[in-house]
Each structure stands twice: as C-alpha cells, then as structure tokens.
C-alpha cells in the first residue's frame, strides 16, 4: 500500500511547528508498513496535484503568505481536479483561509482566495489575535473525540457551514466563537496548531484512512501504542478543566 503526500510551500508556509504534522503522518504510516512518499512543492514548481492522495498546506506569516498567493491561485484548476479525484486535504491556518472566498486584510483590502467553500476571513486589527490553548470536540468520519491544540490567528473566519468541531475551550473561528474550523468528507481545515497531529493521533489516522480511500477503499489501521500521546492530551484537557473521561474510548482505527 502506498500513500502519496504533497506538502505545499514547505519552505514558506511553515509556522508554529506545522512540519510536525508531516512527521507524524510519516511515522504512523511507516510503523504500519504503509509506504509513504512526501513530495514538497514551492513557488513555480510543477506538480500534478491530482496524483496525490493527501494535500497538506500549513500556515505562514503575513509576508510569506503574500508571496505564495499568486502561485496558489494559478494552481486552482489542478486543485479542483484533485478534489474531483478524491484527494484528501489537510489545511492549517493560512491554508484554511485560502480555500475560502476571500481574505480582507487589516487595511480593508480584499484578496480573492480559491473560493472552493463559502466561508471568508476578515483580519482583526493588529493588536487583537485569538491566542491560546484550545480544546475542540469533534465528530469525524463517525468517530467522536476531543482534540487539543494551540490557536494563534488574527483572521476571523465567518460563514462556515460545516465546522470541524465545537469549541470547549478557546476561541475557534472568531473571537469566542462556539465552533472551530471547517470540515467535509474530503477536507479538514483548522486554526489548530500545536502542531495538530502529535497530540491528536485520532485525526492523524483518520487523515491516513481518508488518503488511502481513493485507491484502496476503507482500510483498517493497525492500532499503535499511543500512551504518550494520550497522556499529553489528558494533561492539557485537565488543565483546561475538561474531564478527559469525556474522551471517546473508541480507537481511531
């Protein structure tokens, strides 16, 4: 079994340890004997996006984000073709924003985004950002579980029809929003850094399953020893006064 992952703008959109997500996906595949190939793609580089099972785009600082905009928009057809061919998408922060309608910056300038989904993002003023630990309850592909992460964003994302989950602690899509991220059967888009996947191995495994689906159908994943992962998550949840027992006992595979 082989999984092909495309890591977009690895050199520019890599903030707050987002590269850790790639490392987790790689390790969790390798431990199960799933061959995983990670290709990177930066500005001007030619890639056939629909050849990939999983598309990853992280967040970047404002300046870096400005540098990739044009290049990303020029790949819209390629991304659309990949969507039609059931590529799975994991989008963090800036990556999340860019799949919506537009981004309106601090100065009121509106930058059109890829417009795959209805949501749009409006930057708050420079001194106000959603920053801090965050806990989210989600139901992903029929499994309910709690997730933890760290959010740090000035963009307020509105008009999200299908969020990733319900915020138990922290802000989410906007200041004190009840909901976090965007999700459908193919795309998971979120503001959660941390990075996201190390402490949320359930999401990592579900992303691997989503990625494998288009060539291999539903694949059952062999369970791994996640003692450290569970403990790290439990400690964060209890600090946020959320009972870890609220966590689903169902294994992710």
């Amino acid at each position: 079994m082989k999984l092909k992952l495309l890591w977009m703008y690895h050199d520019l959109m890599d903030l707050y340890g987002d590269k850790g997500n790639i490392q987790v996906l790689k390790t969790r595949c390798e431990k199960r004997g799933i061959e995983i190939a990670v290709d990177t793609c930066t500005i001007g580089e030619l890639r056939t996006i629909e050849d990939y099972d999983l598309f990853f785009l992280g967040g970047g600082a404002d300046r870096e984000q400005g540098l990739i905009f044009e290049d990303l928009l020029s790949r819209r057809d390629g991304i659309e073709a990949a969507m039609k061919r059931n590529t799975a998408f994991l989008l963090i922060c800036g990556g999340y924003q860019m799949f919506g309608q537009y981004y309106r910056d601090q100065d009121g300038k509106e930058v059109p985004c890829l417009s795959f989904f209805d949501y749009y993002t409006i930057a708050s003023d420079r001194d106000h950002r959603c920053i801090g630990n965050i806990a989210v309850e989600t139901e992903m592909d029929g499994k309910k579980f709690l997730t933890v992460g760290f959010e740090n964003h000035g963009g307020m994302t509105e008009n999200v029809s299908t969020p990733f989950g319900k915020v138990l602690y922290g802000h989410g899509n906007t200041f004190d929003s009840g909901f976090e991220g965007f999700m459908n059967e193919q795309v998971l888009a979120t503001y959660m850094h941390g990075p996201l996947l190390p402490k949320n191995p359930e999401i990592a495994d579900l992303m691997i399953q989503r990625a494998l689906r288009r060539n291999h159908g539903d694949v059952a994943l062999e369970p791994l020893d996640d003692t450290l992962e569970k403990r790290a998550k439990e400690i964060m949840l209890s600090r946020l006064n959320i009972s870890p027992s609220e966590m689903s006992e169902t294994p992710a595979s």
């Binding site: 340890g17 850790g20 987790v24 600082a61 870096e64 540098l67 420079r126 920053i131 801090g132 450290l228």
Partner: protein, 439 residues
C-alpha cells in the same frame, strides 16, 4: 527630592540588605508613576542592546569593555530587560534628581517592548544581535517585531550597530536613513556550511521578495547572503572577523587576535558586536580582549554543577538557541544523559510548538543514553522525541527534584536544557543536589 524616586531607592536598599534583588522596586515605581522611565537624565552614552539571542551576554560584555576603557557604567547586568527591570536599574543608579550617575548606560531591552521605550530612553546607540523565531504567541510574528523596530529607528540619529550577516537585522539599515550604521560580519570558518537545514526566517530579500543566495551559513540563517537582483546583503563591514581559530578559541578582527569566552561561532558574533560598538563610540576595542578572556557566562549558561558526575545546564527558549545547545552537547565526547525541562508559563511562551522547529534529531547519537523529559509539558517533549525515533531512550519524570535525583543516581555525565521559568528552579535543585556531594 522626588518622593517616588526616594521610596523606590529606599525599597531597593532594604530589599538588598535582606539579600533580595529583583524588579520589585521598578514595579512599584511604574505603578506610582507611569512616566517614571521618562524622568531620568540619561548619561551621554546610552547604549541599548536588543535582539533574539545573546542580549544579556552582549550587554554585559559591552558594559565591562566600557569599564576597561575607564568609563563608569550602569547596566541591567542580570538581564532584567522589561520596563520594571530597567526602572529598577536606573533608579538605583541615579541621584535624588533622576540624574543617572554614570558616564554610560548599557541596557538590554526586550525586543518586544523596545519600540515603546526607545525614545523614552534617549539612546545614543542601538545594538541588534540577531532576529530569530522566538516565543511567537507572545511576540506576534517576527515580521511585526522588525516592522515596529523599523518605525522607531526611522528618525534615529545615533549609532545603529547591526549584524551584517543576519538579513533580518540588516533590514533596519534600509529604513534608518538618519542613523550612522555600523555592521559587523564574520568570514567563512571551518564550521561554516554551504547548506542549512536551520534557516527558517530571512530566506527572502526584504526589498524584492526574491530568494536570497548564500555563499555560506554560520548557523541558522546567519551567514553571507545576497540578493542577485537588488544587491541587498552586499555589505562593507565596519568590524570584520577575518578568521577564527576553533582549536584555541581565538579570532582575528582588524588585525588583532582576540580570545572568545566560549569557543563557538555565536559567541564570537557577540564579541564582534561589542568590538563594533566600541569602534563606533571611539573607544579602544583592544581593551575588550581581557574582558572576553575572563568573562564568565551568567547563571544557567553552560553552568556546571558537580553531581555524582558533572551536570551542565543551559537555557533554551527558541529553535536556534536549542539547536546550538544540542550541537554543543553532542560535540562532547563522552557517554551522557540529557534532561529537558519544558515549561509553558507566560515567560516561556505558552505555545510550545517551537520544539517541532528545533532539530531534536541531533540527540539521536550513540553517546546519548537516556533523555529525561520534565516540566509542565514533559509529555509534549517526550512526543517530540518519539517522532525522531528516540522512543527507547525517553523517560518522563515530571517533577524537577525527581528528575535531577535520577540524573544524579545514574552516575553519568549529564546535560540539562531548561526553558526560562524552569531555569531558576532547576538551578536551585541542582545546587541542593550538588551540596550533598560536598558533605
């Protein structure tokens, strides 16, 4: 006589007689008078030192080198670089009319608050060591820090001492049209590399956005870079370290051989900043050599405690610093245990994701035995190491006393890395534990 100033000075003298230093007097001062800092009459030479890494060391070296040049100097030597610390430093050094009693003030200022205090402190010189990614949740992004600093230096007419090998620092030169810019730089050494896996910020030309080309890297994104399109990075350094001899820890600048306090590229950059500042001020740089030679690093910077076997502790607070500490640790040619204290209190930065930007795979070395993970985020640290294939060497011991006791009982040389708020308590535990061996 000003009653606030009197109270603050009195409080300090009472506290220090009781053996307690700290920023409490400054905290009180700023509570009583929010404009307290602006009341001081600063000395004719006021040097501010800022940047991401090496601030405390550079500030102390400058202060000592100025003393060696015969000046009376006041400085925040412990690195209390926030307003309260600076207020304390200035209050105890001034007379009852807010006149700072010294020929020069050398102040380390936190890079996040500098833009607010810059004009208040009336600097005659600003030294920038470097800019790396650091504690992003507290800082906002690096870009914001640099932009704010560019704004406040736009009309600065003093001396601007910049690291010419750091694209992030060099950006300030473009905007500070009225300042006298002095650049320090270092030639390629045997430790320089043609490629880097550490450079995260500063890959692109700030003028045109195109990728910068590097002739060589010293560490992280520090090195000789240039933009082939607009010439950004083509510099004429005012202080150039022309060669480094890592066999005996010496370097040559302006034809003179200096001794570094630590045998590493980043510490020689600190020395270069000092020499550059001295030249800019018209002081004798050669007098700094004795200072460099005898400088003892501050607490928690390569500090050794004698447990059953020696234990060396280092502060880590961002990927670049952690990478350099790990290079140092793995260069030590003996079997060793390592202990990492990871906290996420406000002063550490609540976001610990930076550990994923640091190269912990360096610890995957046959001489590294057990890696103890401790502190408030011990399990996050353990996870980080697990995903570098170090699973078998991890041991989580959350409490600091238990972790240090374990290192001691293991009877093997050890190296501790601690984040800011863990440093103080861990040093106290180490001191106590080392005391047991003296009896």
């Amino acid at each position: 006589m000003d009653i606030n100033l009197f109270l603050v000075q009195k409080l300090h003298s009472v506290l220090s007689k009781a053996g307690r230093g700290g920023s409490l007097p400054g905290t009180l001062a700023l509570k009583l008078d929010k404009d307290f800092l602006s009341r001081f009459q600063m000395p004719g030479r006021t040097v501010l030192v800022t940047g991401t890494n090496g601030k405390t060391t550079t500030m102390n070296l400058i202060a000592e080198a100025m003393k060696a040049n015969g000046l009376k100097v006041v400085c925040n030597h412990r690195g209390d670089n926030l307003n309260v610390g600076i207020a304390t430093t200035l209050a105890i050094a001034s007379d009852d009319q807010y006149r700072v009693q010294a020929d020069a003030a050398v102040l380390e200022v936190d890079e996040l608050t500098l833009y607010r205090t810059f004009n208040t402190l009336h600097p005659t010189a600003l030294v920038v060591t470097n800019f790396f990614r650091d504690q992003l949740d507290r800082a906002g992004e690096l870009e914001t820090i640099i932009r704010k600093l560019m704004e406040v230096t736009e009309n600065f007419e003093g001396d601007l001492i910049l690291n010419g090998d750091d694209p992030n620092s060099l950006r300030l030169a473009d905007n500070a049209k009225k300042a006298h810019v002095y650049l320090f730089s270092m030639a390629e050494t045997i430790k320089s590399r043609n490629i880097s896996d550490e450079a995260s910020e500063g890959k692109f030309c700030p003028r045109c956005g195109r990728p910068l080309i590097y002739d060589y890297y010293q560490y992280s994104h520090i090195g000789r870079f240039r933009c082939p399109f607009d010439g950004f990075g083509k510099i004429h350094p005012d202080l150039y370290v022309s060669s480094v001899n890592f066999d005996n820890g010496t370097f040559t600048a302006d034809g003179h051989v200096y001794h570094s306090f630590l045998n590493s590229s980043y510490s020689i950059y600190n020395c270069a900043a000092v020499l550059c500042l001295l030249k800019a001020c018209g002081l004798d740089p050669v007098k700094a050599d004795e200072v460099f030679k005898n400088y003892k690093l501050k607490e928690g910077r390569n500090e050794v405690f004698n447990l059953s076997k020696p234990c060396t502790i280092n502060l880590v607070k961002n990927p670049t610093g952690a990478n350099e500490v790990m290079k140092f640790i793995t260069a030590q040619p003996m079997d060793k245990n390592i202990c990492i204290f990871l906290n996420d209190n406000d002063l550490d930065g609540c976001d610990i994701s930076w550990i994923w930007d640091a190269h912990f795979e360096r610890l995957n070395d046959p001489l590294v035995h057990t890696i103890v993970c401790s502190g408030r985020r011990a399990y996050d640290m353990a996870l980080r190491l697990k995903y570098e294939g170090l699973e078998d060497r991890i041991r989580v011991i959350e409490g600091d006393r238990e972790a240090i006791a374990w290192l001691d009982e293991a009877n093997m040389e050890s190296f501790v890395m601690a984040t800011y708020t863990a440093l103080h308590s861990t040093r106290a535990v180490l001191k106590k534990q080392a005391g047991r061996h003296r009896r």
